[in-house]
Subunit: 372 residues, 2 copies
């Protein structure tokens, strides 16, 4: 149930004057495998030779006059024997090429096979669009809610990982995330009123199905908090946070801390066109309204590579109805595989803070404090 | 100078009774692009259609009776316009497929393009063989020494990364590694004799060229230690550590701490056949000989997914000439993108501990203490 694709890149002398010599040298290797050949000659763009095997496998040999030879193999199944055969074939290609160019091959690169079509999907790109393969070995939960696709996948090293519509949200390995968004251990929450928006661990989410999945399969992050929505010192509200914030603001209810774990800083850098930026500013303004003087607001940023989006976010902070101070910190969240920034601001005892341990990339913890 | 390869996987109803209907539905999309078609029909293994464009690009459409349709596109250059064209083509494929199967497409997966043949290589697989793409934007140093290939590449988020013969060794982001291999802040090194083998930061390495590269480009990790091999309270020896350890043992020179940052636990799980295991045991035994009673030995393990290799390593610890105790800890090293274990043992003022900050995966810190 897997279709592995193997990649092989050879950098040969540039430019490659005689593409045909490469084709002639490598042809026998594929033909020995009983593969049927089809050759396309671009004249000015080199060759593409396609080799087809009876079992459904095939190979592409792309010889490029700029001095790059690419061999891609797509197999039908992913067994040890199949991998060994691929290795042997690529070894022969490498040998023949070294002979042909008298050892003058600048670079040889063999990538791990990409596995497709299987029950388990191991590829979950980072926020900045890089391809990363996770060590997923089990699909724990996979359901579509009215809002999104909810997956909980098991990673050998990160534990269960919550993935919402393809985005890695948090894993059991990611205590660093919770610690960062709670102020990196520098805050004393004793007797304080705390309002948590979102919840990161999928806990305080508007989507009941996320809560159901997390309650069962993400207990290392949410503990038993979701078993009862009302505890001795906390209350979990499953509703849209905007009307709740507006109600609190109207009632004059104030908090010592607001922790916003609703959403990351939007990747889009067009604030005027993108409603997520307006949503973000609305949440910020409402949060400031329910925050006591000298209260603190903590939030996450996004991957530190998204510098434009982060700069734009900081600009929003200067456009709030009240002036705020802020600082930031970068933290490594294991399962994110990239560095992540946080934002915090001016800042109440109400909702218990869960062990919302997210994933393993870096996290930046920035703080902002309301000025009066 | 880049040859991007785009991957697209569609899971259709299984089994796929009519592969030919899929081919007929998708053919026009490629033909509209002015691509030349070659079709191979396996009869019992579905179809491979190859589409060739005049500019050197090509596409493979693999229709599999098990219910998977794969579209791979290999382009000639990687410009925004090219990416948009690919996106448009794949959007059309998705639309046509949804029409054909009345929305019953189980999964659609588009992977970030794999870039090959460029000056910058972004793919550096993890110790457990997973494909990961780094945010490399500059080749800082690239030289072949008599021992190995030495690369220092710049990552936007991890800073400069030292890569020895393809293995990610350390990055400027990886203070967590240094902290872990020094005992996670629980040791007081004041007035102590410390022997560091290796150095992790490429500093105390037998390879002068690694030192030259690190001295210049990894200053955030090694500071100014390498500018002078002899400091007020340290001495850097550029030689094979085995004869040095033997000499110290013969002279009766003892240390409070031995920190072994020479090499990770070998991935091979055949200790009898693999000389790296013998090398590892030799180093361990010699280290115990120069370690004071109740001294401590710290070392790294390897990716926590390599459980067999780590178990085998722990078995070696019971086979040393003297009994030892050990403990372990897991740490996240940012640039590793996997969790890493450390090992430590019984344990001397001599070599300064450098700021050998390694990469961002997890690190396990295990400790072993000599028993008398």
């Amino acid at each position: 149930e897997l279709w592995p694709c193997f990649f092989y890149t050879l950098d040969v002398p540039k430019p490659l004057a005689d593409c045909n010599a490469v084709l002639k040298a490598l042809q026998p290797i594929f033909q020995e495998q009983g593969m049927t050949e089809t050759v396309h000659n671009w004249e000015d763009h080199g060759y593409l030779a396609t080799y087809i095997k009876k079992n459904g496998s095939f190979a592409n040999l792309r010889i490029h006059p700029h001095g790059v030879v690419l061999v891609d193999l797509q197999s039908y199944s992913d067994c040890t024997k199949g991998r060994e055969e691929v290795d042997q074939l690529l070894n022969k290609v490498e040998e023949r090429m070294k002979d042909l160019f008298h050892g003058n091959i600048k670079r040889v690169k063999r990538l791990p096979a990409i596995l497709r079509g299987g029950v388990i999907d191991r590829y979950w790109p980072t926020a900045d669009g890089r391809l990363v393969e996770y060590d997923i070995d089990e699909v724990v939960y996979d359901e579509d809610s009215p809002f999104q696709n909810i997956k909980i996948l098991h990673s050998k090293q990160f534990g269960n990982i919550l993935i919402l519509s393809g985005d890695v949200n948090l894993a059991e390995s990611d205590l660093a995330y919770t610690q960062a968004i709670m102020g990196s251990g520098k805050e004393d929450y004793t007797g304080k009123e705390v309002l948590i928006l979102g919840g990161g661990d999928g806990a305080s989410n508007i989507d009941q199905m996320v809560i159901d999945g997390c309650k069962k399969y993400m207990r290392k992050t949410c503990g038993d908090v979701l078993d009862n929505l009302n505890g001795e010192c906390y209350q979990v509200l499953i509703e849209d946070c905007i009307p709740v914030l507006k109600r609190y603001a109207k009632e004059g209810r104030m908090f010592d801390y607001v922790i916003n774990d609703l959403t990351a800083v939007p990747i889009s850098t067009s604030p005027e066109e993108d409603s997520t930026w307006e949503f973000l500013r609305l949440i910020l303004d409402l949060s400031m309204k329910v925050l006591k003087q000298d209260g603190k607001y903590f939030t996450q940023g996004n991957c530190i590579n998204l510098t434009d989006a982060l700069t734009l976010y900081e600009e929003q902070l200067s456009r709030l109805y009240c002036p705020v101070e802020f600082s930031k910190e970068t933290v490594c969240v294991p399962s994110y595989m990239e560095l992540y920034p946080y934002e915090l601001k001016k800042s109440g005892e109400c909702v218990l803070i869960n062990q919302a341990s997210l994933d393993c990339l870096e996290v930046m913890n920035s703080s902002a404090r309301r000025q009066f």
